[in-house]
Structure formats: C-alpha cells, structure tokens
C-alpha cells in the first residue's frame, strides 16, 4: 500500500528530467566545490545534502539520483511508520504507512522542495524504534509479541546511530531526530527503565558528531550566522484553514507560504474525517499502553516530542511565546533553526500515524463480521487520500519534470574552459525565478549549482510585500551596481566578476545595453553569456578549513563504524552459509 501511495504521488515525476520547485534544485553533474563542505562564504544550510547528491551524481545521472531520493523518502517514511505502528494487523500497518506518507506536511515540504528535510522525516520512525530499543532493561510486552519485539529489540547504539545519520542529512531534521531519540530513550517509564545517563550521553555524543558537518562550519562562520529578525515573523507558521494556526499545525499543515498550501484546506468538510483520525490514533495509543503491549516510557517520549514540536511550531503565532522565539533566534547560537517552525510538527506526524495504525486494529475489531472488518479497514487506509486528494499525480500537476535547455550546457562548457578566476553574475537580479522551460514553476536560481564557479546573484528572499535580507557577503557588493542604471561591463570586474549570465526572463532586456563592451560569448533564445576582462580578486570571509575538515573526518569515521556492523554480519552469514553447504556436500 505504501508503494502504491508513493507511486500515485511520484508517477509523473519518474519521467526523464528534473523536478525543480522552490528549494529543490538538482542539476546535471554538480561541481565538487568547497561550498559543499560548508567552507564557502554561504551559511551551511545545504550541508551535507548537496555533497551527497554531487557524489551520487558521479555514479548515476543526477535526474536518476533525484528520482531515487524522492522514491526513497516516501518508501522509507511509509515502511518506517508501518513498522512502528504497534499492531499486528496488516491493514493497521498500511494505514500508518499511508498516513505518514500522505499528509499536508509532505505535500507542503515537497512543493517547497525541502527534500533533505523529508529525508530526515523518513528517518524519524526508525529513530523512534531504535531509541525505544535502546532504553534500559525491564519487562517486555506481555501480548502482541511481534509488536513488542519491534519496539524493544536488542539495544543497539549502532542501529540508533544509523537512523540518526540519515536524519542528519538536513540541519533541522538532524536536530529534530536527536531530540526525539533522547526523549524516547530517556523518558521515565515503569515497564522498562529509561536509558541510563551514560547511554543518553552516548546518544547525544553520536548525534553531535553526525551533525558536525553542518554545525561546525556554522559555528565557525566568520561573524556568526547572520541573524535576520524580520525572518522570524515572515516564516512563522500561519493558519491555512478555519482552525487557526494551532489547528492548522495539528492537522500537519500551517506552513508560512500560502503558495504551497494544499487546495481545499479552507473547507470544513474534511475536518470530521481528520477528527476521526485523531480519535482513532488516541484510542490506539491508549489501548496499546493499557494492554501492556508497549513500553509506556517510550510512547511517552514520542508524545512528549510531538507536544514540544507542536509548541515550537506554534510559538511564532502565540502571544508571549513569539517574543521568546524572537529572543532565541536573535541571541542564541543556532536559534535560527527555529525559523520556519512548522517543520517541528514532524514528530507529531509520527505519533499520529503510528497511533492511527494501532487504532485501525481496534476499530476494525469492533465490527461483527470479517466482511465488514475488511471494508472498514480499506476505508480507514484510504482516509489520508480522501483528506488530501490533490497530493496525487505530482501534487495534481503542480510538480513536474523539466530538462535544462541545450544552451545551459553550452554556457557551462564555455565557463568551464576558462582558466581565469572570477565569479559569474546571474541576471535578472532575483534569487527565485520561473523559467518557461520549467513551466514557470518558481525555483531557486539553478545557476548556483549548475556552473562550476562561484555564482553571485541577489541573495534576498523576496516575499510579497516584504524582503528578508540574504546572507551571502558578495551579493550586497554587486547589488548597488546591478540595481543602478549605469554600464555594468566596466563596473563588475572590479567587484570580482568575470562572467555575466543573462537569463531571458522577466526584465532581462534592460541588461544587454548595459553590458556593451563585454564580450558576448553565447546568445541563445533563453540566455546570453558575456565575458569580461580578468577581474580583481575579492576577499570573502569563510569558515577555517582545518576544524571543519576534522569534524568531517570524525563524522566519516563514525559512519564507517555504523557501516561495519551490517558488513560484519553479512560476512558472518556468508561464511556460515558456505560452511553449511560444505557440511551437506561433505
């Protein structure tokens, strides 16, 4: 069922080409640059996700990599939730998996292109399972043995570390998963003791090391990570329907950007069915814990994480808490992670989906005949699809594939062949753009990843009626030149720019006259490429390489230790299988 749900969402995206939407930018063979390690001038927001894509794109075409990532997210998320659901009923597990894959959170983050956050989201059920197993010794479940085994299992730090490693692909996802693991492993409970302080310290240490590739360069970023107070309000959760901000978040929506809210959220008709999901989930958890099938401490930890996440997500919209959130974002190092707080409802989605799976078993059991039970189970599994039908078929056509025009490859070949250093200025002066060849879908400027040299463009986030200043130190140096009306050709080389790419969208026609004097290298229907004289070198602050690389090496060593477990196990099985074969024939 989970596979079918994933296929229903992704089917049109599996065609050849790239899915380019908001922050999801995949390009053919992305260059291996210092930025990928967080050693550039930008804040390490896409570390290590962009590095992993760049490496994978050495082995496979990048559009295949993207499709595998998207399919892996949905499959991993659904299977994880199905496994976490404390029920032996296949329909219950299917209901949990489908609800976790098919909800407003996934819709909104998919449209926003937050694929790395969705990788972390997919890892969360696995984090809960591994953290629950990592609790202290104690009585096992008394009934539902298979369910109890999934939740208790053999305690394995390696298993928990593996789940945390996947979640660490995105910085906020890494934080969410780490807190979730600590709460599930350490929450007080009577059946099984919480993990000891030593074990919790180990979990915390592992989480810190696995997330070091992004937090070390962030901490060492010269001048610190820039704080943009205006962004706190701009990216706060918002109501997307009749339930207000908290209600929108409880129903797993509430993202700041109205442009990516699923259609129909302003209606009232879907609310009773969602209320049914919540009731079924609540009864499911209550019965599992009361019947002794699960360790109440682990469940308590999951529910506590869901509650804390909801509070953080709603903080920007709640009087009193909004001021606290602003203080944290402005004055606490790393506080900027709390911006765009809606992502913190992810643990609530885990709790809702797994509880719903358990509740389906209970609800189906209330019915008298097997035929009725089957019908009820099918209907319950289908509820997420009824609640959000427009997630199907690439969010009902809002997502689709596109191919980069041949002109882009020509431009890259010309820029790559040039040995003279210097940046590439991209015009028009906007960070998010829509291209006709991408069906005008808004996307983060792809040239930043497409070209193998430092690209500079406007770094400000332009919202309707509001602009959140960017963080790139180079962009403000170019802004007065670009936004003025004077000649650009003589002005940009002193600012470190060697190449100028004019994408023929929006107000592009104003630029060619201003570039008179620069050498026109390429002129195609959708872009023009200009080259200037060797530019003056620019000095831009960046994090020091040595500590960042040291953090990467330590994280890599930990990943090696994680991988050594399955490799050793596989080798042992192979040897045993050979020995048993030898025994039969001997």
């Amino acid at each position: 069922m989970v596979g079918l749900a994933a296929l229903l969402i992704l089917a049109p995206l599996l065609l050849p080409g790239y899915v380019l939407t908001y922050d999801m930018v995949f390009v053919p063979r992305p260059a291996l640059t210092r930025e990928l390690l967080g050693l550039g001038t930008s804040v390490a927001r896409a570390v290590p996700s962009d590095l992993l894509v760049a490496l994978a794109s050495r082995a496979l075409p990048a559009d295949w990599v993207q499709k595998l990532v998207l399919a892996g997210i949905l499959a991993g998320a659904g299977l994880g939730a199905a496994r976490l659901a404390p029920t032996g009923l296949p329909a219950g597990r299917a209901a949990a998996g489908v609800l976790y894959v098919w909800n407003a959170f996934v819709y909104e983050r998919l449209l926003m292109g937050h694929w790395a956050l969705l990788v972390s989201y997919a890892a969360l059920p696995w984090v809960v399972l591994a953290a629950a197993a990592y609790r202290g010794d104690g009585a096992e479940g008394t009934s539902g043995a298979a369910t109890a085994r999934r939740w208790t299992g053999p305690p394995s730090l390696r298993r928990l570390a593996a789940a945390l490693a996947v979640a660490a692909v995105s910085p906020p996802g890494g934080v969410i998963a780490s807190v979730l693991a600590l709460l599930v492993a350490g929450f007080p409970g009577r059946r099984r003791r919480p993990a000891s302080m030593r074990r919790l310290a180990l979990v915390g240490g592992v989480a810190l090391v696995l997330n070091a590739p992004w937090w070390v360069p962030s901490v060492l970023h010269p001048g610190g990570v820039p704080v943009r107070p205006v962004g706190v309000a701009a990216f706060a959760s918002r109501p997307d329907g009749p339930l207000g901000t908290v209600g929108s978040l409880v129903t797993l929506g509430g993202i700041w950007n109205a442009n990516v809210v699923p259609p129909g959220r302003d209606s009232l008709l879907w609310l009773p069915a969602f209320a049914l999901v919540v009731v079924v989930a609540a009864v499911g958890w209550r019965r599992c814990v009361a019947a002794g099938r699960l360790d109440g401490g682990a469940v308590g930890g999951l529910l506590a994480a869901a509650g804390i996440g909801l509070l953080v997500a709603a903080a920007g919209a709640l009087p009193g808490l909004d001021q606290g959130l602003r203080l944290v974002v402005e004055h606490v190092p790393g506080g900027g992670l709390l911006r765009d707080g809606q992502k913190f409802v992810a643990p609530l989605a885990v709790a809702l989906a797994a509880g719903f799976g358990a509740g389906v078993e209970w609800l189906a059991g209330l019915l008298a005949t097997p035929a009725r039970r089957r019908v009820a189970a099918c209907l319950l599994v289908a509820i997420p699809l009824l609640l959000l039908p427009t997630l199907a078929w690439g969010a009902w056509g809002r997502l689709g594939v596109a191919r980069y025009p041949a002109s882009w490859a020509e431009a890259r070949a010309a820029v790559t062949a040039d040995r003279v250093p210097g940046g590439l200025l991209v015009l028009p002066w906007h960070l998010y753009v829509g291209f006709p060849w991408n069906h005008d879908r808004v996307v983060l400027q792809p040239a930043q990843r497409y070209f193998p040299r430092r690209v500079v463009t406007n770094d400000d986030l332009e919202l309707r009626g509001l602009t959140v200043p960017g963080e790139d130190p180079w962009s403000p140096r170019l802004a007065p030149l670009v936004l003025g009306s004077g000649p650009l050709a003589p002005a940009v080389p002193p600012a470190g720019v060697r190449w100028v790419l004019v994408e023929k969208i929006g107000p592009w026609s104003a630029y060619p006259p201003r570039l008179a004097g620069a050498e026109l290298i390429l002129d195609r229907g959708d872009l023009a490429l200009y080259r200037g004289p060797p530019p003056r070198p620019v000095e831009l602050p960046a994090a020091p390489a040595a500590p960042v690389l040291a953090a990467d090496v330590v994280a890599l060593a930990l990943l090696g230790w994680i991988a050594a477990g399955p490799v050793a196990s596989l080798r042992r099985r192979l040897i045993e299988s050979r020995n048993s074969e030898g025994g039969i024939h001997g």
């Binding site: 442009n259 879907w270 209330l366 509820i383 427009t390 009902w396 753009v433 332009e462 929006g506």
Partner: protein, 46 residues
C-alpha cells in the same frame, strides 16, 4: 470509547468518511490540471 455508544460512534465515523469523500470529489473535479504560480520572483506569500 466508553462514553459514546458504539453504534453512534460508527455512525459518526461513517458520516465523516462520506463528507470527506464528497469534499474530495468536489475538490478534484474543480481543480485545473496544473495550478502553477506564475509569479516570476516571489519566493512566498503570507
């Protein structure tokens, strides 16, 4: 569900499902195949 008779609960659940099905049907039949934002530069809209 100790506070609500089983039949009432199942009836409410059935009504909720029917409403969701109707809303879903209305929604998908009223949606154009592709609702793409035509805004060139706007990252988002609150």
């Amino acid at each position: 569900m100790s506070g609500i008779p089983l039949r009432v609960f199942l009836g409410l659940a059935a009504v909720a499902l029917v409403l969701a099905a109707v809303a879903s049907l209305v929604l998908v039949t009223s949606q154009s195949p592709s609702q793409v934002s035509k805004e060139l530069i706007v990252y988002g809209n609150r």
